[in-house]
């Protein structure tokens, strides 16, 4: 129990306060002057009583409140908060992690005899760890000092000190808060002194490090992707180097590093990813020979490359119903971003088709075929190039240009994951043959001569063993999908495979995978009839659209159409646990039922050995496995055994709560310093020189308020009677002098 203290509140703004005060004084002055003809004693007594009355009124206007607190002394009790975010998994000098190092500090505290409870935090705070204090598996979540401390202090107000063991990384609001905001936040939380200890090796001497990487988590195929890296160089005057960007193990770009006066430099890489899926990009700075730590010269970022649209370049050599069918399919497919160019009149039509009438240019909607623009400058921006009954050789200026641009298409297919579809027709057959151009290397079917005979007879297609399970032909119907008009005498290219052929073995639909791309040759220009014939036969007519949609997906290498599919999922609650579903199909797309296989999980930080997940598929070629990572990081899922290694693409993924935690592993002492300074705690920067006595001294012997009583004098029952009593007294004095 202690003495009550008085609290007053202002009436309002300062001008109101002064006005009320002056008015009160004026009233008092007038009342004193009004008694100037009275005897001095009466005058003095009356003035005093009136002063008491006016002063009481003025006092009561300020809401006077008496506060009395019942306070109980509180024993010292400290909470130790250990950072368990992803960045705490980084190694320190002795090979252990920062997280493990933090636990070794607890021994020092214990030896000192300080009572403490241990909690862990990242973006939230755990429950007390209990008596068993041992490092656990890091989940890799992001650090958020603001959120976790707010949560902790509002839940646990009885601690007299908090000690935080951390590397200072903060990905929450705290780093962006101003000094005033920080102070207000800590005051609002009634924060006890917060002691902080920096965990991790602070390096001195020459140093080149990647400070941070700025990259989107998601981007699109063949859309510009920008990755920026901030590099910091310390104690290396005049240092010049280059930054490399790698996709897996392939160098994509190299940029010169230009440093400012403070030793900071930014490099920006912009490129166009060509393949769908997760890409692990690495930024690497070649180490300087004086550097002691080269770990931070390399940082990785995972970008999921998706597909917004399928960018199709559709070129047709003649205007036919087949063109209309394919164009209608492209127009109705919302996934297709179509760039089309159709030859609407040839040189012959210009010369003889106008009856020598000169039709002005502005009366026609035609533009010249932009050969260079399409085949040179914009080619690599497309996913698929479709030649529909196109006699390409007739539209180049000369043979040099033809060869150069055809080579470019070949390069687009072989080296840039391009798709190339050829629909054969009378004009293709009429030559000059694509088989005599550089494209012959990537065409599944090669017309060997300048002109190819065009057979107008209908052919009944037969599925080959590869075609039977091929996704492109999943709705194949031999009754309605006939081939009328084919190029005869074409040769199957080496490495190409036939999906459909006629009775005589002539290939009708062939595919090939030259280099990194895929090509398809449909040996007819009558596919548009498939829909109409199906409708006429009372069927849905979807087989035509489905064929072309699947064909487009196949040539752009849509992962959904790969023979081997690896599907993964993880949860926010347990981000280190990965559920893997595998679908195995053989080269001909037949499900690999009851097959034993092994999926390898390779940690990309090289800190542990790969893990093999062995499984047996069910009747549909599917299997499910679960994998739990030891620590957050990047992992690659891959098959190492034939044939699955050839039929699949390795998948790279991140396991853990937040990738951002791994983008910058440098220590950030400033965060911890600020936290300690504004809460009257202490900051220590060296875990190996940790002084627990310093912490104990900083822990205050605080007292705990267990009860507070408040009396508002204005509401006090005796206030009014007392004032009335004084007023009566004053009246009695005046009455006694015959004044009232």
């Amino acid at each position: 129990m202690n003495w009550p203290h008085l609290e007053l509140q202002p009436i309002g703004p300062i001008w109101l306060e002064i006005t009320v005060l002056l008015t009160t004084l004026a009233v008092f002055g007038y009342s004193v002057s009004a008694t100037r003809f009275q005897p001095p004693l009466v005058r003095v007594v009356s003035a005093v009583l009136r002063f008491i009355l006016l002063a009481s009124g003025f006092f009561l206007l300020h809401h006077p409140t008496l506060t009395r607190q019942v306070i109980e002394p509180q024993p010292s009790r400290m909470a130790v908060l250990i950072d368990r975010s992803g960045s705490m998994g980084a190694e320190v000098e002795d090979g252990s992690s920062r997280y493990q190092k933090a636990f070794s500090v607890l021994e020092d505290l214990r030896r000192n005899g300080t009572e403490f409870d241990v909690f862990e935090f990242d973006q939230t705070v755990s429950d007390p760890l209990g008596a068993e204090l041992a490092p656990r598996r890091l989940s890799g979540n992001r650090t958020d000092f603001h959120s976790s401390l707010s949560q902790f202090l509002s839940k646990h107000s009885d601690y007299t000190a908090v000690t935080i063991l951390s590397d200072g990384h903060d990905l929450g609001r705290f780093s962006q808060m101003s000094v005033d905001d920080t102070r207000q936040w800590l005051r609002r939380l009634n924060a006890p002194p917060i002691n902080t200890l920096l965990i991790g090796d602070q390096l001195s001497g020459p140093e080149v490090a990647i400070h941070s990487i700025d990259a989107p988590a998601f981007s699109f195929v063949r859309a510009p992707l920008t990755i920026r890296a901030t590099i910091i160089v310390r104690n290396l005057d005049g240092f010049q180097t280059q930054a490399q960007l790698l996709d897996g193990e392939n160098i994509i770009q190299i940029k010169d590093l230009v440093l400012d006066d403070q030793g900071f430099g930014t490099v920006e890489f912009q490129f166009y990813p060509e393949q769908q899926g997760e890409h692990l990009y690495t930024i690497h700075i070649p180490p300087h020979h004086l550097e002691s730590n080269t770990e931070n010269n390399r940082q990785q970022v995972l970008v999921d490359i998706g597909r917004d649209k399928i960018s199709v370049l559709h070129i047709s050599g003649s205007i036919t119903w087949d063109l209309q069918g394919l164009r209608a399919m492209f127009e109705r497919d919302p996934l297709v971003d179509l760039t089309a160019f159709y030859i609407m009149r040839t040189r012959e039509h210009v010369q003889i088709g106008t009856d020598n009438r000169s039709i002005p240019h502005d009366e026609m909607a035609l533009v010249p075929f932009p050969t260079e623009e399409i085949f040179d400058r914009q080619l690599f921006g497309f996913d698929v190039v479709v030649f529909q009954d196109f006699d390409a050789g007739n539209y180049f200026n000369d043979s040099y240009q033809a060869r150069r641009l055809m080579n470019k298409i070949k390069e687009f297919v072989q080296n840039h994951h391009g798709g190339f579809v050829v629909v054969g027709g009378p004009r293709t057959a009429g030559g000059p043959s694509l088989g005599l151009t550089p494209l012959a290397e990537v065409l599944p079917l090669v017309p060997p001569n300048y002109r190819t005979p065009f057979d107008e007879k209908p052919h009944q297609p037969i599925l080959t063993s590869l075609g039977k399970n091929h996704p492109m032909l999943r709705l194949f119907d031999s009754e309605t999908m006939s081939f009328t008009g084919t190029m005869a005498g074409v040769r199957l290219n080496e490495g190409a495979e036939t999906l459909l052929q006629d009775k005589g073995g002539q290939p009708l639909l062939t595919v090939m995978e030259p280099g990194s791309g895929r090509t398809l040759f449909l040996n007819t220009s009558s596919s548009w009839k498939w829909q109409r014939d199906a409708l006429a036969a009372g069927k849905t007519g979807e087989s035509y659209y489905d064929f072309w949609e699947q064909a487009l997906k196949w040539v752009i290498q849509d992962p959904a159409l790969n023979q081997v599919r690896i599907t993964t999922s993880k949860t926010a609650a347990n981000p280190l646990k990965l559920d893997v579903e595998v679908l195995l199909r053989r080269r001909n797309y037949e499900p690999a039922a009851n097959t034993e296989a092994t999926l390898q999980v390779v940690p990309l930080d090289d800190r542990s050995d790969p893990v093999n997940l062995s499984f047996t598929t069910d009747y549909s070629g599917r299997a499910e496995k679960t994998f739990t990572a030891e620590r957050p990081g990047y992992y690659r899922l891959q098959f190492t055994d034939a044939p699955w290694a050839d039929l699949s693409r390795p998948r790279t993924l991140f396991l853990g709560g937040s990738q951002d935690e791994l983008r910058n592993l440098d220590l950030v002492p400033e965060t911890l310093q600020r936290l300690a300074n504004y809460s009257n705690g202490t900051f220590q920067s060296r875990a190996d020189r940790f002084n627990s006595k310093q912490l104990a001294m900083a822990t205050p012997e605080d007292k705990h308020v267990i009860e507070t009583h408040r009396i508002k004098i204005r509401n006090w029952i005796w206030s009014l009677p007392i004032l009335l009593l004084i007023a009566s007294l004053e009246w009695a004095v005046r009455r006694s002098s015959q004044l009232a």
Partner: protein, 248 residues
Amino acid sequence: MDRRRFLLTGGALLTAACVPALAEDGGAFQYCLLRLGDQWEARSRALVKLSFEVQKRCNIPIETKPSIVNFGQITKVNSPFFVISGGAAFKQPSAGDARAMRLVLNSGGILLFDDTSPRGDTGFYEAALKLMRRVYPELEGPGVLPRDHAVYQSYYLLKEPRGRLNKSDFLEGWTMGGRTRAFFSHNDLLGAMEADQLGSWRYNMEIGGGFRRELCFRLGINMTYYTLTLNYKKDRAFPPIIERRRRI
């Protein structure tokens, strides 16, 4: 072979050669005139003339003679550009035939109604509306095609539709899913193209002369290109160029 058998066989072969082959399976484009109404053949030579112009001017492999079929045969036609020409009300086809027309139009075909009737006679128009209501009951009716419709810019740049008559300055159409399935021309488009075997024009133009006829051919060619290339000229590369040329 006796003489009677020779004559029968020869006659049959000759007939087969003369009648346009309905089951002809080449990929060439061909107009198809429907036998519907009393005046279906009044403009039959116009399509020959138009085919000839298309062959001369355009990169469209085309049969120079139109096929002529009954309504019940439309699903057998390989080149589904159907023309119904007339100037009076016609007998409505059966429900099954209307369904067949819907099937054909949905799978890429197109239908052109060409009204040859003089001003004030709406019998053909009413019959066309009735037919299309049976083919596409869900469609409200024909709409006036806007000036920037692809049919006005699919090959030639046209400001308005022409014809032998000058009844209206717009085309009407039944559009669904971004594609116009049927056109209605009020101005006797085929009448302007109709010529005899020697090439003499059969009908005089209501207004103007040679150039107006040329504009009719241009509209016919544009309709053909629109049928085969759909909204190609609405692709993002063309509108700025076309806009610039229209302003000149």
